[in-house]
Amino acid sequence: MFRNRGIAFKLILFFLLSSGVIFSAVSGYNYWFSRKTIERNVEDNARSIVLSTINRIEAVIRSVQKVPENLACFMEHGSCDKEELLLLLRKVVENNSEIYGGAIAFEPRGFDGEPVAFAPYFYKSKGEILFSDLASESYQYFYWDWYQIPKELDRPDWSEPYYDEGGGNILMATYSVPFYKKGEKRLFRGVVTADLSLEWLQEVVASIRVLQTGYGFLVSKNGMFVTHPLKELIMNATLFGLAEREGDDNLRKIGRRMIRGESGFVSLKGAAFGKPCRMYYAPIPSCGWSLAVVFPEDELMADVSQLNRTVIILGIAGIALLVIAVVYIARSITRPLREMARATGAIATGNLDVELPRSRSGDETGELLDAFRYMKESLKDYIRKLTETIASKERIESELKIAHDIQMSILPKIFPPFPDRKEFDIYAIIEPAREVGGDFYDFFFIDEENLFFIIGDVSGKGIPASLFMAVAKTLIKATAMKGIAPGEILTEVNRELSQGNDSCMFATIFCGILNTRTGLVLYSNGGHNPPFLLGRNNEVTPLKMGKGVVVGAWEGLAYQTEQIRLKPGDGLYLYTDGVPEAINEQGEFFSAEQLRRKIGEFHGASIQEMTVGIMKEILSFSHGAPQSDDITMMMIRFIEKSKSLS
């Protein structure tokens, strides 16, 4: 997908991806860690606020509790009349600033002399101590919780907060301590009470501040809101009522834990507090109430979110800067590359004079440019030399072709060469190899009735072979014209050619002299393939040979002259090694044996048809394979003189 995009694109993509991943990981961890830290700090803060507030409340509550407890003790052990009792109660209320009011409520006939109910109550109002007897028709103190519950439980107890209608006429909670008559039977005589004004408690709790809008609230033993910033909740709603209204199961569970006297940190996701909040709660041990602080989560995370925003902005700015840097670097790499690609294209079309971009730096791109420039110059130089070489090679080739043409031109090509001589027939054909080869043949009369003929093959190829061949051919003709026997001719030619022939160039030569009157052939062989003798009756046999060595390489050799008498119709088929050594595409040789069969197949044909036909066979045999050697054939047929005359 990206394979065909540019380097700049890939660099930018990979840098962006990798730096994006790194940045995300770093800022993610940063966010997580700072969130944890802030959470912990705020939780610690909330906990310590709650605990210190509880301590303050607890201290007040304990001192409030002391008063009725002491008074109850006095009621059980001491004795006093009504006047003294009232005075004592008044003093107690007056001297204990934490107490809003105090009462001693007796069972009917619980106090000496009083017939029915007696419950003196002193309370504070606008700096004065006021008296009220709770034993009134309208108040009916026997039925109030602050009286009933300690009596039934048989122990001191804090009442639920209540509005003391007809008593103190404020929101309060009352601590009631029962007292008994000593004797055989412990008899309940009444309760001593101390009132705690909840206004004070509300002030204390309202002073709690966590973060911006975090606040505290207090719930009583049955979950009633004792203090809360929302005044309408106070004494009107319970945590459970709130949970019921919102359908918040979690809040209900938390409420249960709170009134069980547990403490803990919780997340509140429900709508009970308007938005997701955190809450810490802890019990006030002496009265079994629970104090909680609540603060919204978004405020808790405000700093973290701010930090995170800043980090993200910084990160994006950093990545943008990185992208600019990468683009700049990529450009500095790709610009010369692009220019170079363009230059290469031009060079590829043969324009070696194209201007290369300047290398502006010593970096890898610069090195590449320098190397490229060097390559261009070398290429230019090389092509110039190549052009020169090609020119000189072409010249040599043309010279070789001329040499080849000259070589071919010195071979007799006109057939029949002696139209008026009917007593024999002669035909020769040569298929030169691409390269200048060394095959040659010749025939001429040395006198009226003796025809000298020769076929030869010079070792090697090219100019040396053709020069050697020209020399040999000329030498042979000159020697043959002396009228000596073929063996002597070869002996003489060998002596001439071998002198100073250090490179040992040689020629294989077969030469003979046909007496056109008698059919007698004198012949001598210098290392050449033995010719075939073609009988009238189509028998094909190789000519008997002596040990004739190749001519021109070895000094001091003597060649034998052999003889054979041709009957009328007999023929000689002479060839060079190009014939049996012609190869086909499979690398197989044409072979002397196959040649011999082919000659047989042409029985009855004229010598021209025969040689041309065999040549065609060889060329079709070696079709496709490169022809590395000249292929030469020569054929002589003796025809009876009398016949030719008739």
């Binding site: 093959d457 070792s459 090697g460 190829k461 250090d502 490179s503 040992c504 160039m505 040689f506 294989t508 062989n525 210098g526 290392g527 050449h528 393939n529 033995p530 040990k547 004739g548 060595v549 190749v550 390489a553 070895w554 050799l557 090694d577 040789f589």
Partner: protein
């Protein structure tokens, strides 16, 4: 073409394997010339594993033989068979080189 040379008691045996043509003959020639330059002057050429020999190969043998002739040295041949033997026979090398049936015979004789 592979050339192996082995010094025996009274001759250097040069065994040639493969094709000896215009391309490979110069290497064979150089090999022999190096040996001659080192003073060797009796050679037994074993062509038992030679598959083909062209006129260039014949010329290389002749050149070496000619050089040895000045130093009263000598080249003999052995292992000729098949088409290679025919080439040597046609070229008339029997007349100027001693040709042995086997290497042992050649070494015994030389």
């Amino acid at each position: 073409m592979e050339i192996q040379t082995r010094k025996e008691k009274n001759a250097v045996v040069v065994s040639v394997k493969g094709r000896m043509d215009a391309v490979t003959a110069p290497e064979f020639e150089k090999n022999l010339f190096d040996l001659i330059a080192k003073g060797e002057n009796r050679f037994l050429l074993n062509f038992g594993e030679l598959e083909y020999i062209s006129s260039a190969g014949l010329r290389a043998i002749l050149t070496a033989a000619k050089k040895l002739k000045e130093k009263q040295g000598k080249i003999s041949l052995t292992g000729l068979k098949g088409s290679v033997e025919e080439v040597f026979r046609i070229a008339g090398f029997h007349a100027i080189f001693k040709i042995f049936e086997s290497e042992e015979a050649g070494l015994g004789e030389t």
